[in-house]
Symmetry: C2
DNA sequence: TTAAATTTTTAGATTTGCCTAAAATAATTT
DNA sequence: AAATTATTTTAGGCAAATCTAAAAATTTAA
């Protein structure tokens, strides 16, 4: 079945919001998509008709199996294009998201198969997120928030949960990029801030809020 | 100014239909786009409001300067993507059009600049059509219809005007591809059919209609 | 040069995807 | 357990992009 760009955006967003088991609610999806709750309700009905959604009025919703499968197809396209933009066209990893949001809706199975091959079947996108394979299988990587990385243990920056301009600005300031080696030297219980060391740079301090939004692969 | 995918399709189609000086009429554009005349009239009004069109009710229309500029930007994107699909992803040149129709609407100047560089600033797309440069300048190539190629003169197949399945089937049958060396041995005045020789294949006959739709670069 | 045919436009409807405002339902507080 | 608050849905509207059917304008032909 084929879906409109708008439907695909909703599907992808619901996927991103729903955890392993939790239901998503109308307002949080509306907030996530920068839309009004009423618009979300409209689309929920449409997606339910198309049998992508488990949805009981007033009680939240989740993607069902075909919804999840579709979401993974969209996410696969998005991440492959991001990989292309960064690793072939040389764009900055913090600038590719918007463009990939458009490219991901181009609907040709053959195109994506060939793009995947052309790129060497990458497993991780430039933000450090795993790329679902052609069957929708997502490589499980043991990622932890920097906040939870045990003291003195090495991690590799794998992704950041917020991709706002403000976040990017801060990461640039600290010289943190995907793939950076990182280590927590000390945690201050008072405010949750952390003293960290990034690659070979001198140690510095970051806030609990920042640490919460930076994810690393536990580098065992 | 930014345009919707739909507006861009109209702009590109008008560009393709208008010659050097002729006006385009509603019905021919409707036919070209597989739409009804009424829908075309609607869009003409919109494009006129956006100052892309010279349009007098009942008397046809043409793109004005900014319309032409916009058309060339769209065509540039389309042809660069076609080049990418064929020369990087290895798709067949007769299968890329539909996908490029989607990709061409992705709106990022930086993306196209980088794609152009990545591809080595190609001048001709896989169908043999020239790719407008970043300023909208279209390389002038002296292309003639096979029908008008002087007898015994070598030509290089540069493009075909119809990209229907039927045309592709016939080209495959004759073993004609973009870039093929081709020469007219004899013209039969009776029905306009031509005896031609393609590269090193034995001579064969094609109809006037086919010859009219195959273009070659005069290979001086 | 008027009648017929063709082309183009207008008028009004439909679908998608969004909105605001009001109503319905659920959750929380007193 | 009512009353208040918060959330969600419904109702109704709007713009883009399409359609059909009818009206208007132009072109062609008798």
């Amino acid at each position: 079945m084929k879906f409109s760009a708008s439907e695909e955006n909703y599907i992808k967003s619901i996927y991103n919001l729903q955890g392993k088991t939790e239901k998503v609610n109308t307002n949080s999806l509306a907030g996530y998509l920068n839309m009004r709750a009423a618009s979300v309700t409209d689309m929920l009905k449409r997606l339910k008709t198309k049998k992508l959604l488990e949805y009981k009025k007033y009680y939240g919703f989740r993607l069902n199996d075909s919804g999840n499968k579709e979401a993974l197809r969209i996410i696969r396209r998005h991440r492959l294009w991001e990989f292309f933009l960064v690793n072939r066209l040389g764009m900055e990893w913090d600038k590719v998201h918007v463009i990939a949001e458009e490219l991901e809706h181009v609907s040709s199975g053959d195109l994506i198969k060939r793009l995947d091959n052309f790129l060497g079947q990458p497993k991780i996108d430039p933000h450090g997120d795993p790329i679902p394979d052609a069957n929708g299988k997502m490589p499980e990587l043991n990622q932890v928030s920097l906040k939870n990385l045990p003291i003195k243990k090495n991690g590799i920056v794998s992704s950041v949960s917020s991709q706002t301009q403000q976040m990017m600005e801060m990461l640039n300031h600290y010289g943190i990029t995907i793939g950076s080696q990182i280590k927590v030297l000390k945690a201050f219980d008072f405010d949750g801030s952390l003293q960290i060391k990034i690659s070979k740079q001198p140690a510095c301090i970051i806030s609990e809020q920042a640490a919460q939004n930076i994810f690393v692969y536990d580098d065992q």
